[in-house]
Structure formats: structure tokens, C-alpha cells
């Protein structure tokens, strides 16, 4: 058996434990929903057997964006609002890597909103988690675009003035949308199932995760947690199935076909009860990186040939006739 074959077989045999994906002790507040997301993500990596060195978590700035620091994979904790274009560059350069994006409601829906719109349209193979706690946390309680109207914050002491932006509706309104789901941090089983489906979708998988901020908005989701009927689980044979245990607690259920975009938009427009599950999934939307793949593999010889062909276009070759010998027809 050759070394290469052995190596490949070993790769196949390699399995990872949860600890293989853990790095450091999260510095989020206790009770912060980001902890639930981190746990779900680490479990997903283990269950999907993602090689740590082949996995990259990209984030912007904010509480959510600290997540890569707690993953024992590659990570890029970048700039406020710019996680998506950075992740797109990584994806374009390296189709062999699994690329995840962690972003918050300020990061994605405010300062990075332009990139969000275009990322949906590019439909690159990225798994995007919008940690939506409806408030700016790291900068200490300012209203975000997804804060419900009337939210009291340090910049809106008398209550916020505008209706909240609806990330699901926005995403479902953009051309080339291919995967949209909503999860809540307090139902870990569904959060995990949704993230797995998102990861397995080839394209731009957008998962909005309603996430509790115990520090700045401790009561925001309390009514929904207290009353399971105020959460509506989406299920379908092409989407998620609800386990018997979960079904006993969350009896408010809706059969929703994730291939139906109009129905998805209808579901997305409802906020109470909170729809949880896969709203839209279309595996047939082309990915930008596939559209941009140019056929031939690069090699020095290939590049040389291409360059010489270009030089040929612009080359003026020396002329044998001396300058003084211009013909004089007269």
C-alpha cells in the first residue's frame, strides 16, 4: 500500500471528539445565547467530521463575532460588517474548506447590510449564522435595526422609533436566495438540526438565530420561552421532522414546504408565534464560485503560455529596414 493510499484511508478513519473543536473558555455573559450556538456548532463539526484544519469560521465585530476564538479550527475575526465579503474571498480561493460565518444583527443588518444583500445574490457555499439578539451588546446597549419598536436603549432612552427590520423577509426578497431558516437559542435540538441542514446545503445558507441577551434585554424573549405555543415549529418531509419529545412541548406546528417561496415569505411575515425551522430551501440555485470556475488548472507552463500570447498581441517586432530607407514612391 502506497503512503498516499494509506494516508487517504486514515483520513477516512479519522474521527474527532467535541474537545477537538474547543478552544479556550468563552467570555460571554452567563446565560448568553451565544453559548448555545457555540455548543451546537461544535457538535455539528464533530458529527459531520469536519477536519479542524479544513474549517474556517469568519466573523465580523460584536459579541457574536467572538465565536471563532472558541473554535479549535481556523478563524478570522475581522471587521465590523465585513465578514461576508471576507468569507466570499476565502470560499473563492479555497473550495476545499468548509466556511462558516458568524455575524450579529448590527454587523449583518446595519453596517454590513450592503454585503448581506449581495452575498445572498452570489449564493456562495457559506453557512451563515445571524446571532440576532436585537441589541448592540459589546458597545453596551444601543438599539439595532432588529430591535422591536419602543426598545429602550442608551441611544433610544424613550424607546426606539422605527419598526424592526425583518431579516428573514429581507433575505427571502433577494434574487438567488437558496436557504433561509430560523432558530431560537432555547431549543438546542432544533438549532442543531437547522445548522446541520444549513451546512449540508450547497449555497448561501442563512440561519437567523434569535438569541437571548441576559445583560441588556433580559426579558425580550421571556414570554416566548414561558409559553411554548408562541413558537411555531415548521416541519415537512423536505425540511425538518419534529421529534416526539419536542412535539409534546411545542404543539404549535405547521407543515411548510421549504420549496415554496411564496409560502416562505408568508411564514416570514409572522412574528408571534415565532416560526422556527426551514423556511426556504432550493438546492438548484447556482453558486457564484462554480460559475466563475475557469476550466484549466494553473501551472507555470500554462501561465507562461497565456502571458506570451498576451505579449504577442502587444509586441512590435524589430524591423530590418533602416529608418532612412523609407520608400519614396515619387
Amino acid at each position: 500500500m502506497s503512503d498516499a493510499t494509506e494516508c487517504l484511508l486514515r483520513l477516512h478513519d479519522e474521527h474527532h471528539a467535541l474537545e477537538d473543536y474547543q478552544s479556550g473558555v468563552p467570555r460571554w455573559c452567563s446565560g448568553c445565547g451565544d453559548n448555545a450556538i457555540l455548543t451546537a456548532v461544535q457538535r455539528l463539526c464533530r458529527d459531520e467530521d469536519l477536519r479542524p484544519e479544513k474549517t474556517v469560521f469568519v466573523s465580523g465585530i460584536g459579541c457574536s463575532s467572538r465565536l471563532p476564538h472558541y473554535m479549535n479550527t481556523y478563524g478570522l475575526h475581522s471587521l465590523h460588517g465585513r465578514a461576508l465579503p471576507i468569507a466570499e474571498g476565502i470560499r473563492m480561493a479555497r473550495p476545499d474548506l468548509a466556511v462558516f460565518v458568524n455575524t450579529g444583527d448590527g454587523d449583518c443588518c446595519s453596517i454590513g447590510a450592503a454585503h448581506w444583500i449581495h452575498a445572498i445574490r452570489y449564493n456562495m457555499n457559506l453557512t451563515v449564522m445571524l446571532h440576532d439578539n436585537q441589541i448592540y451588546g459589546l458597545t453596551k446597549k444601543q438599539a439595532s435595526p432588529t430591535s422591536p419598536i419602543g426598545t429602550r436603549s442608551n441611544t433610544t432612552p424613550h424607546g426606539s422609533y422605527l419598526e424592526a427590520l425583518q431579516p428573514l423577509q429581507v433575505t427571502l426578497g433577494v434574487q438567488n436566495v437558496s436557504f433561509v431558516a430560523q432558530a431560537v437559542d432555547w431549543i438546542p435540538e432544533t438549532l442543531y438540526d437547522i445548522l446541520r441542514a444549513a451546512h449540508r446545503h450547497r449555497g448561501f445558507s442563512f440561519v437567523r438565530i434569535l438569541q437571548r441577551c441576559p445583560e441588556w434585554l433580559p426579558k425580550m424573549f421571556e414570554p416566548y420561552i414561558q409559553d411554548p405555543l408562541r413558537v411555531r415549529l415548521l416541519h415537512h418531509e423536505r425540511g425538518l421532522s419534529i421529534s416526539p419529545g419536542l412535539g409534546k412541548i411545542y404543539r404549535n406546528q405547521l407543515e411548510h414546504d421549504p420549496r415554496d417561496l411564496s409560502a416562505a415569505r408568508e411564514v416570514a411575515s409572522g412574528h408571534d408565534p415565532i416560526p422556527v425551522g426551514i423556511l426556504y430551501h432550493n438546492p438548484d440555485v447556482p453558486c457564484y464560485e462554480d460559475l466563475r470556475q475557469s476550466g484549466p488548472a494553473r501551472s507555470p507552463e500554462h501561465i507562461r503560455a497565456g502571458l506570451e500570447a498576451e505579449f504577442d498581441k502587444f509586441t512590435i517586432w524589430p524591423h530590418a529596414v533602416p529608418a532612412t530607407a523609407a520608400p519614396d514612391a515619387g
Binding site: 478552544s23 475581522s78 474571498g89 450592503a114 454585503h115 512590435i316 517586432w317 524589430p318 529608418a323 515619387g330
Partner: protein
């Protein structure tokens, strides 16, 4: 040219001997779409093939479809031909071919024509059916004649009609034939050039264009007494003729980079246009991002993942990228940023040249963000600078900014065809296992360098962060880590600087005046200096390719001159303004930097007219400077 005064149109035989010239500046201008660009390029190429020095500048109207026959609509080329190597656009035009009097007027208003300049003017407008046009033509014609211009009315349209139905689509080749005759260029070479230019099209297109060329040549021979010859030194090597932006794009191909991320902006975009066309043939791609920030972020992502990437922009786009550039500096991600400078601030003069971005590229972003800044000074350097930039970016884990400008972007100058070298290309991304114990920022104490871990490398997992971090890339909460990392990133510039050679002085190593420049002004500065030296004046020049870090030995070089003066196309306060004195004068960018670095009392002269600085202006300034020094001594 003894018989020059005896011309009578339609009777000349063309037997006169050509007047030998050292150089001439020729323009050909038309409404856009009439082919003056193609004529000018072909003319320049033929002259270059014969061994003349050539510098071609594109004359581009500011609007996409300017109205026909408008002064702002001139489109064409300006070609400076010389017996020796030509390094810049030079001064005013000696001879111009104009397809209508309005585009000509635009050039006159711009002050681009030499007094008494020869004008070959399409004469069809004199008999135009629209009396307003005919009147306008006569008025402009008479005015130019009265102003002393040597206006020759040429029936180009009429002559072309003898060969083609639509003379508008053939006049440019007729004009090329005229110019070939006037400048004693080889007609056979011109035929070849047409075959090259139209080779992809129907053979009949080539035949027709050659017929028009010959008609122009013959008509001129029979009717005009103008005949010049510019001695040429036969070329022995193949030459490349492209503008600076195409040279940058060719550099991207040659550098082995695979991705260019950009957003449209003038005057940078034509580089990406060309690259979009050819990059995919060698497995690369141009990504047009949704904005400048995304373009830079995309480039950073691709670079981080192991494929050094370039983003190409101009001033306002550069400003937008600044925050992202800071991330690349902080994370030590290699990145090449090309800034094709234009007039600023704000939208400024998008199509005009300025060197106003030097300080912002050096000190931009925020905090201490050391970057490498290099500036090509010729079209050839536009090509090689990108290869250098990619290598430096990867070797030092740094952002390398290449500062070109609108003048280089739109000028053409032949340079020796590069010989491909596999060493130009980037190595494949390192995917080997990282040895145990190695950390992503194990900064070397002396050089500041560390080995970069690329995703895919087992054992190298870490999170790169824009936060201050320690050697393990962990967020720095202690008091020393931040300073250590700033120290290391700064050291890398010094390490690079230690590898550089001192710049070479153009002219003697000592003297009365040293003129210092950077970027596209090189040709004009050296030409002015050569002229002054030929007159026995003790003037030399120095051109800096590395702006950050600067090459060693600058102070020693400058100390050997009585005075040092920078020439730059960015703003500096005028010492004779009422409000300006030694306490408040703002110096040009390079002068400011050199004063700080050398503690020498360096002066500056600058101009922000949006035009390349002319050798004649530099000559005047240098003479004034020398005279002032003599006055002080007396």
C-alpha cells in the same frame, strides 16, 4: 527645406528632402468613434518599429458620447516621436491632424498647441450644408491663421470617398498615410501594421484600409511640402507597447496572482477591463464586488486563504478600503493594493493626473499601520512593480501599495518584451503540517518576521483577529502584547529596507542642485536635468521607487548637493503667497517626508493642473532655484 515657401497645393511633387528633426509631437484628434485613437496608436507603433523613441498619450473625452463637433469631445492620441528614448509626453504639439475645427479648438483652448503649430484640418466643413457649421469652420480657421498657426486644409473626406462610401470609417487610415509620408515612415511597415490591427477581420477590410493608407500617402506626396525625418536607431529587440494600466494587468498575470477584486472607478478600471478579458485564460478571475470595501475584504479573504490577491482602485476607492487595509496589516495578511491616483480630494478630477495620495497610503488606515509603498515611474515599471509587490507582500506578510497615476494609466511607451521567469509566480499555498509548538505570530526578535499559517495546514489552527493579539493570536489582555506586536510589524519594514540598494543618481553624484521625484514625473525630470547638464549646469536628479521603506543612503546623496528640490504633482504652499511663511508652509508630500528623514532643508515645487508636469516647467524652476542660490551667495 529651401523650397518650403514655394508650395502650391495640388502641384507639389514631393521630391524635397525631409527636414531632419530631433523630435516632434504629433496629435490626431476626432470626434469619438472616428478612429483617431487607432490611427495614433498605429502611427506610434510604426515609428517605434523603425527605432524612434515614442511616448503616446491617449486623449479621452470626459463624457462617453460627447456631442459631435464639440470642443470637449476631442478623442485621439498625442504622440511624441524622438531620435532617442522618449520618457514623457513633453511640451506642446508641433503638428496636429484634426477631423473638425471644434475638437481642434478644444486643444487650442487647453493650451496644448505650440505657437505656429502645423494643423492639418479636414476641409469638408467649409462647404457644409448647414450654414452655421460652415460659418463656424471659416471663423475658427481664419482665427487660427490670424493667430499664426500653419493651417493646411485637407480634403480628407473627398479623397476617401474615391475609395469608400462611408469616409467616416476610413479617414483615420488616410490620415495615417499622410503622417507616414510627412514623417518618412516606411509604408511597408504601415501595411504590416494594418494587417496586424485588422488581421482578425475580413481580408477585404485590410485591403481597403491599406488602399486608404496609400491614398493618404500619395495625396500628401503630391500636395504637401511637409516632410520630416527623425533619425532612428534600429531596434534589435521586440518591444511591448501598452499603456500603464494594461502593463499593471499584465503584471498581475505574470505575478502568479489568481484573483483580482475590484469595483469600477476611474482611472483605475481599464486595468481590470483588460484583466477581465484575459485572466480566466490562465485560471484567474476578476471579481467585481458590490463596493470598494467588499473588493478589499474579498481580496483579504482570498489572500488569507493562501492566494495572494490584488485589489485595484483610485483615490476615493482607496479611502474606502482603508479600514480593511488595517486588518490586513494587523493580521499580517499579504495583500497588493494598486492605487491609480487621480485629482482629489473627493471626486476631484477623475481623469486627470495627481500625486496626492502618497501620505494617505503611507499613514492611512488608523493607528500604526506600516505598509510597503512603491511607485512605478515608467510603463515598464508598472508591469514589474506588480510582480515585486506580490513577492514582498508574501515574503513580509504585509500590505504593498502600488501607486500609479492617471498619466501612466493612459500613456504608452515601448519597453523590451519581458522574458518569462517561473520565479515570478507564487508558490502553491503551504499545506504542510505545522511543527508542534510553533505559533502563528512567532515574531523573530531581529526581523519581526513570523511564519504564516494557512488554512488547511494541520496543527496551525488559530483565529486571526483584528484585535491586538499575542504570539498565539490570542486576544491580548496584558499590557505588553500590544506593544510587542506593533514593534514586530514595524520591524518588518526595517528588515525590508535592509535589503534595498541606495538609489542611483541621474547625473553626477554631486553638484549645485538635486531634483528629487517619484512616480510618473521621472521622464520629465530627467529630460529637464539632461538639458541643464548639457548646458554645463551642475544639476542631477534622484527618483525614488520605494516610498516606504525608503532606500538607504538618501541623506548622504543629498548632502553632496548645494540644494535639494522635490518636484511633485501634489499641493505645496507657494512661498510668495502673502499668508505663507516658514512657520506655516505646507510642503509637498515627498518633501515633507524627506525633510523629516534627513533633516536637510529640502525645498519643493509642485503643480496640480491635472496635466503631467512638463520638462520645460521643471527646467524653469531649476534655473530659478540655481539663480536664487547664486543671488544668496553674492
Amino acid at each position: 527645406m529651401n523650397d518650403a515657401v514655394t508650395i502650391e497645393p495640388e502641384r507639389r511633387t514631393g521630391a524635397s528632402q525631409p527636414v531632419v528633426l530631433a523630435e516632434h509631437i504629433v496629435e490626431i484628434i476626432s470626434d469619438s468613434g472616428e478612429g483617431a485613437q487607432r490611427c495614433g496608436q498605429a502611427f506610434g507603433a510604426i515609428a517605434a518599429r523603425m527605432g524612434n523613441g515614442v511616448w503616446t498619450v491617449e486623449i479621452i473625452p470626459a463624457e462617453i458620447r460627447p456631442p459631435a463637433r464639440s470642443t470637449a469631445g476631442a478623442s485621439g492620441n498625442r504622440i511624441r516621436l524622438g531620435a532617442g528614448r522618449i520618457t514623457n509626453g513633453g511640451g506642446q504639439t508641433d503638428l496636429t491632424v484634426a477631423f473638425n475645427e471644434q475638437v481642434l479648438l478644444g486643444r487650442v483652448h487647453a493650451g496644448d498647441l505650440k505657437p505656429g503649430c502645423t494643423i492639418l484640418l479636414e476641409s469638408m466643413w467649409r462647404e457644409d450644408r448647414d450654414p452655421a457649421i460652415a460659418a463656424s469652420y471659416v471663423q475658427v480657421h481664419d482665427r487660427l491663421v490670424a493667430a499664426g498657426y500653419d493651417v493646411r486644409e485637407i480634403p480628407m473626406e473627398r479623397e476617401c470617398h474615391k475609395l469608400v462610401a462611408d469616409a467616416r470609417r476610413g479617414k483615420n487610415m488616410f490620415a495615417l498615410g499622410m503622417l507616414c509620408r510627412i514623417y518618412s515612415l516606411d509604408l511597408e511597415l504601415a501595411r504590416e501594421q494594418i494587417a496586424l490591427a485588422f488581421g482578425k477581420k475580413d481580408k477585404s477590410v485590410v485591403t481597403q484600409n491599406v488602399a486608404l493608407l496609400e491614398a493618404g500617402f500619395d495625396w500628401t506626396q503630391r500636395n504637401l511640402d511637409l516632410r520630416f525625418s527623425i533619425p532612428a536607431s534600429p531596434v534589435t529587440e521586440p518591444q511591448i507597447v501598452v499603456n500603464g494600466n494594461t502593463a499593471l494587468a499584465l503584471g498581475v498575470l505574470a505575478s502568479g496572482m489568481e484573483v483580482c477584486a475590484m469595483y469600477p472607478i476611474t482611472p483605475a478600471t481599464s486595468a481590470s477591463h483588460y484583466l477581465s478579458d484575459v485572466f480566466e485564460k490562465v485560471g484567474g478571475l476578476v471579481h467585481q464586488a458590490e463596493d470598494e470595501i467588499a473588493a478589499c475584504a474579498f481580496a483579504i479573504g482570498a489572500s488569507y486563504a493562501g492566494k495572494c490577491t490584488v485589489t485595484i482602485t483610485s483615490g476615493p476607492g482607496y479611502s474606502l478600503k482603508q479600514e480593511a487595509i488595517g486588518l490586513a496589516v494587523m493580521g499580517e495578511i499579504p495583500l497588493v493594493v494598486v492605487n491609480v491616483q487621480r485629482g482629489g480630494p473627493s471626486t476631484g478630477q477623475p481623469t486627470k493626473v495627481e500625486q496626492g495620495d502618497l501620505l494617505t497610503t503611507m499613514f492611512g488606515s488608523h493607528g500604526d499601520a506600516p505598509k510597503v509603498v512603491i511607485a512605478p515611474s515608467t510603463i515598464e515599471e508598472c508591469f514589474y512593480s506588480i510582480i515585486t509587490a506580490r513577492k514582498l507582500a508574501e515574503a513580509f506578510g504585509m500590505v504593498v501599495v502600488v501607486l500609479s497615476d492617471a498619466s501612466l494609466a493612459t500613456s504608452q511607451q515601448p519597453f523590451p518584451r519581458p522574458t518569462f521567469d517561473a520565479a515570478w509566480l507564487a508558490a502553491p499555498a503551504d499545506q504542510s503540517r505545522v511543527p508542534p509548538g510553533m505559533r502563528p505570530y512567532d515574531w523573530d526578535e531581529i526581523t519581526g518576521l513570523s511564519r504564516r499559517f494557512i488554512p488547511g495546514q494541520p496543527g496551525g489552527m488559530h483565529t486571526l483577529t483584528g484585535l491586538a493579539h499575542d504570539r498565539a493570536s490570542k486576544v491580548a489582555y496584558d499590557s505588553d502584547s500590544n506593544e510587542q506586536s506593533i514593534h514586530a510589524r514595524s520591524l518588518k519594514l526595517a528588515t525590508l529596507q535592509k535589503t534595498l540598494r541606495p538609489p542611483v543618481v541621474h547625473g553626477d553624484a554631486d553638484g549645485d542642485l538635486l531634483v528629487v521625484g517619484w512616480g510618473s514625473t521621472r521622464g520629465a525630470i530627467e529630460e529637464a536635468v539632461d538639458g541643464l547638464r548639457a548646458e554645463g549646469l551642475r544639476v542631477s536628479s534622484l527618483h525614488l521607487s520605494f516610498l516606504q521603506p525608503m532606500q538607504p543612503g538618501l541623506k548622504a546623496i543629498m548632502q553632496r548637493f548645494g540644494q535639494v528640490l522635490t518636484i511633485e504633482a501634489n499641493w505645496s504652499d507657494r512661498p510668495d503667497d502673502a499668508m505663507i511663511d516658514a512657520d506655516n508652509r505646507r510642503y509637498s508630500a515627498l518633501a515633507m517626508l524627506l525633510r523629516a528623514r534627513t533633516l536637510i532643508d529640502i525645498d519643493c515645487w509642485s503643480e496640480v493642473k491635472g496635466q503631467p508636469i512638463k520638462p520645460s516647467s521643471i527646467r524653469r524652476v531649476a534655473l530659478e532655484k540655481l539663480a536664487a542660490a547664486t543671488g544668496e551667495q553674492a
